[in-house]
């Protein structure tokens, strides 16, 4: 149906702020600045910046309306595989906003931030203990940044042995996250893919054949991106170390094993931990994240600035110029890292405790297997046997239906669900990767399963292709023309009518 306004009840069509502003309006009352002679070196900005003027109620309405066009964890099942979209407790937001934590300058005298430095160290202690690793670099801002940090420490360790020019190869499975090869390549390594065996794990024989004096490291996700535990991981680590190489573990999937397995016991040399995945700091529409990296004894000396130490004077951050042991790779980020995320993650970890974190891993794995089992007769699991925290299906159940993984996912939107991760990992045809997390109640999973079953049945009826291709129909927008967006990029509003230009 069409309406006069284009609105549909709670769904309000919303203009851009630039189409709403009026000169002279403002949403902030500030005092009149005193008349002073500026000291701007003659560089005073002239001319209009072009920012729109809106009052506070307009601003509140604008962003509230926008928010209502978003799906979110707070609304329901968000089974985005590999992203661990678990519940984000509001307690964590509350403690992060305590003035004595949220309102601190990173370069205050260290004597005035003893509690903040200890907070970082407390989280570091949990991360080291949970992973069974002796050291942790806290400053990386996200998983990919942690990968960069970890791989730099590996490069430094190789450098220290005088083998930097010789060891130029990094091995990574074909199923790896795209960040792994991107990181390795940025550091000048050549990435060589390692094939998977028919069970979805690294082919150990192929790995051993690829190992040699030219190999710097392997980058391996465990549990892997197929949602499976690398059952030969100890043998993999042993072979890697015997070849004089290092083992980088992508810790994106740590949620599946936290409290049940310590990566340090598996022979890992370093691993980043996505605090925004396993430890629930909010994903916030794409960030911020935090990616501390735990390090083995072999790599610990190369940890970047800063890190937290305690001496007779109390807590302090070791920074450039500090007398320190080791050979830091340098610095990856200004200040101390993502403190706001540290606070939230520590609050989450302390709320769960050692007992609760183990239960997290068990419930996440239980929920994923429950979904897998409940769908395996009608969808097609990519591999046999139990999975870890995510259930991976291929698209063979859609064969000859004229319906693709994408169509299937878009139909889920109309049923009120965020789709699963699609077409990743690349090693499975038309992959559908479902990660329910531990945050879902059984009754909510049952409804999710029933909805997927109904969709799969309809897909297989042979008469529903058009319907699936047209999905979604109930969302704030229907399928968007991504080809147009890429062919004629419009990345900003301009006073001339953007919209007409894009639609041409």
């Amino acid at each position: 149906m069409s309406t006069f306004t284009g609105n549909r009840a709670l769904q309000i069509e919303e203009k851009l702020i630039f189409e709403m502003g009026q000169p002279g309006r403002t949403g902030v009352d500030l005092p009149e600045p005193p008349k002073v002679k500026d000291r701007l070196n003659g560089l005073r900005r002239t001319g209009e910046i072009g920012l729109p003027g809106l009052s506070e109620p307009q601003v509140v309405q604008h962003y509230t309306r926008l928010s209502q066009k978003n799906y979110a964890i707070d609304m329901g099942v968000y089974p985005l595989g590999s992203c661990t979209m678990k519940h984000n407790p509001r307690l964590n937001e509350k403690v992060a906003r305590l003035p004595g934590i949220g309102d601190l300058h990173p370069l205050q005298p260290q004597s005035t931030v003893q509690g903040a430095l200890e907070l970082i160290d407390r989280l570091a202690h949990w991360l080291k203990t949970l992973t069974g690793m002796p050291a942790v670099a806290m400053s990386p801002a996200a998983g990919a940044h942690g990968e960069m940090c970890g791989m730099m420490t590996i490069a430094a360790a190789i450098d220290a042995k005088g083998e930097r020019t010789q060891r130029k190869v990094v091995l990574a499975p074909e199923s790896a996250h795209g960040t792994n090869p991107a990181t390795a390549a940025a550091l000048g390594f050549t990435v060589k893919p390692i094939p998977a065996n028919h069970k979805g794990r690294v082919d150990l024989t192929a790995l051993k054949a690829a190992l040699g004096p030219d190999v710097a490291a392997i980058m391996l996700t465990n549990p892997n991106t197929c949602g499976l535990f690398e059952s030969e991981i100890v043998e993999i680590a042993k072979a890697v170390h015997e070849a004089g190489a290092y083992f980088y573990c992508d810790g994106a999937n740590f949620n599946a094993i936290v409290g049940r397995v310590r990566p340090g016991d598996l022979g890992v040399d370093c691993m980043h931990i996505n605090l925004h995945k396993t430890f629930s700091t909010p994903h916030g529409g794409g960030g911020p994240g935090a990616g501390p990296v735990v390090l083995s004894a072999a790599l610990a000396p190369y940890a970047p600035y800063p890190w937290i130490v305690k001496d007779g004077q109390g807590w302090r951050a070791a920074e450039e110029g500090s007398a320190v042991d080791g050979k830091p790779i340098g610095r990856l980020k200004a200040f101390h890292g993502q403190m706001g995320m540290f606070t939230r993650a520590l609050s989450y970890i302390m709320s769960h405790g050692a007992d609760g974190l183990r239960q997290v891993a068990e419930d996440a794995v239980l929920n994923a297997n429950y979904v897998m089992t409940s769908l395996k007769d009608i969808m097609t699991p990519a591999f046999e046997g139990p999975c870890m925290h995510e259930a991976l299906f291929d698209d063979s159940f859609l064969k000859d239906t004229g319906i693709s993984t994408l169509d299937f996912a878009k139909a889920m939107i109309d049923e009120g669900y965020h789709p699963m991760t699609m077409y990743f990992p690349l090693v499975v045809h038309g992959a559908l990767l479902i990660e329910p997390t531990e945050s879902q109640a059984k009754e909510d999973l049952d409804q999710f399963i029933a909805a997927l079953r109904a969709l799969a049945e309809r897909a297989k009826s042979g008469t529903a292709a058009e319907e699936f291709k047209a999905a979604p129909r109930c969302s704030p927008r229907r399928r968007l023309d991504e080809t147009l967006a890429a062919r004629k990029p419009v990345l900003r509003w301009r006073p001339s009518n953007n919209f007409k230009q894009a639609a041409e």
């Binding site: 601190l104 991107a182 909010p282 529409g285 340098g330 769960h352 139990p386 047209a470 968007l480 990029p489």
Partner: protein, 449 residues
């Protein structure tokens, strides 16, 4: 445990459906030697909200917060008043608990504010295109150098001595391990540096900061011309984005890439993060940018909508050939930035900048009037450098003992350099009051006697 919905009745029922007797069977692929038989020893068990709040309050009580102390530190992180609406908006679950907008049909909220954010960034910086944010200004600066290396196919970056020392340190680290040359100038304490003579045919980019780390405001138009004549790019870094309300933007000076730390708008000090990096460039370099880009398009009904676009630059598509390994950005901090800037609008943003400058002028004159203290800046925005008659670090520590957070001793970030030992970097924003300035000036006077 309050966050875990499965009950003791659910679990056996679900295990039975799966066809296993215990949860351990689902972990059977874990090598036996690595299976932890029980929870990890030596760590506390779960706790209720009240206990957690108390634990964090106890940690918070051991810090001196600017909310209760005279405060004049900047150096890349600035304390501004953030309107209540900003924090309310970013705590809406639809924004807070959403992820990267991979499914644009149900993430138009995030995508539209990113499009608005990108537009605001281009307007502030005077540039043509901007991305959907970087982790922060410091990491964004290193990414800008990598981008300049890609664009020019050169590997020699020239780094100003006016750049924030930690930003410089990140570039040097990146250069060392990713394999290019970073040529770093001496600390530019007086704002007189001239890098034009150092540019040659090997130079990929020149990285400057405006206002500089020491507070100086410079015109980089001539430097831009020299860069372009040599086929190099000019990267201008802005760590105090509020300055763009008062100072000619880098885009008008001929910058090719502009990186800003956006923390000042919408984001609190937060002990250093998370912040938000702004990244803008010329349209011709659009496809060499790192990070996510949001673009306008239409949906199947012809309605305007937004999507992530040009993703063939990115790691999840290009893998080892990507422009950057970046995946996560600073979406929620970008929201805080954009909501704050939308509240301010043209008039409010300019007024905020005027207020900052006026406060800093006042503070500079009062501090410079102290015996033996010399102001190094002829120009500045809301931050400036003074030379004290003795090393600055013990003075700042003496002030801290009185719970006065009186600036940054430059030696903290440039250790071991005698020429900066006496330098103190002071900032004053619109939050500075007489009730804060008077004790600072008095305590400084006393400490210097």
């Amino acid at each position: 445990m309050r966050y875990l919905p499965l009950t003791d009745a659910d679990r056996p029922e679900m295990l039975a459906k799966i066809g296993v007797k215990s949860i351990d069977e689902l972990f059977r692929d874990v090598p036996p030697a690595a299976r932890l038989p029980a929870k990890i020893a030596g760590l506390p068990d779960h706790q209720g909200e009240l206990e957690i709040e108390r634990a964090f309050q106890a940690l918070a009580a051991r810090n001196v917060s600017p909310s209760v102390a005279p405060f004049f530190i900047g150096a890349g992180a600035y304390r501004h008043h953030v309107p209540a609406t900003v924090d309310y908006m970013i705590q809406r679950g639809e924004f807070l608990t959403s992820y990267t907008p991979y499914q644009p049909e149900i993430t138009q909220g995030t995508l539209q504010y990113l499009f608005e954010f990108q537009t605001q960034v281009t307007l502030l910086t005077g540039m043509e295109v901007a991305n959907a944010s970087m982790y922060d200004g410091s990491t964004g600066t290193a990414e800008a150098v990598l981008m300049a290396n890609r664009v020019t196919r050169r590997e020699r970056a020239l780094i100003s001595g006016g750049l924030h020392p930690q930003y410089r340190s990140i570039i040097e680290t990146t250069a060392k391990w990713e394999g290019f040359h970073a040529v770093v100038a001496q600390p530019d304490t007086h704002g007189l540096e001239d890098l034009i003579g150092s540019i040659d045919k090997e130079t990929s980019c020149v990285v400057v900061q405006n206002p500089s780390f020491f507070g100086h405001v410079r015109d980089f138009s001539k430097l831009a011309e020299a860069c372009h004549a040599a086929g190099a790019l000019l990267i201008v870094v802005v760590t105090e984005v509020v300055s763009l309300g008062l100072i000619r933007p880098p885009g008008e000076m001929g910058a090719d890439i502009v990186v800003c730390e956006g923390q000042s708008l919408g984001n609190g000090l937060g002990f250093g993060g998370p912040y938000v990096g702004l990244f803008a460039t010329r349209e011709k370099y659009m496809r060499q940018m790192p990070g996510r880009l949001c673009g306008e398009t239409v949906d199947a009904d012809g309605k305007r909508g937004f999507v992530l676009t040009l993703s063939t630059r990115e790691q999840h598509i290009r893998r080892e050939k990507a422009t950057s390994n970046i995946c996560t950005n600073a979406g929620l901090c970008a929201l805080a930035f954009t909501v704050h800037l939308t509240l301010l609008g043209e008039a409010g943003f300019r007024r905020l900048a005027e207020l900052n400058h006026a406060k800093a002028l006042e503070l500079a004159d009062r501090v410079a009037a102290l015996p033996g203290v010399k102001l190094l800046n002829d120009s500045f925005f809301n931050e400036f450098t003074v030379a004290l008659p003795r090393p600055a670090a013990p003075v700042v520590e003496a002030l801290a003992q009185k719970h006065i957070l009186g600036g940054l001793p430059v030696s903290r970030l440039i250790p071991g350099d005698k020429s900066v030992e006496n330098l103190l970097l002071l900032a004053a924003t619109e939050t500075a009051t007489e009730a804060g300035m008077a004790p600072l000036v008095a305590a400084l006077k006393e400490a210097l006697q």
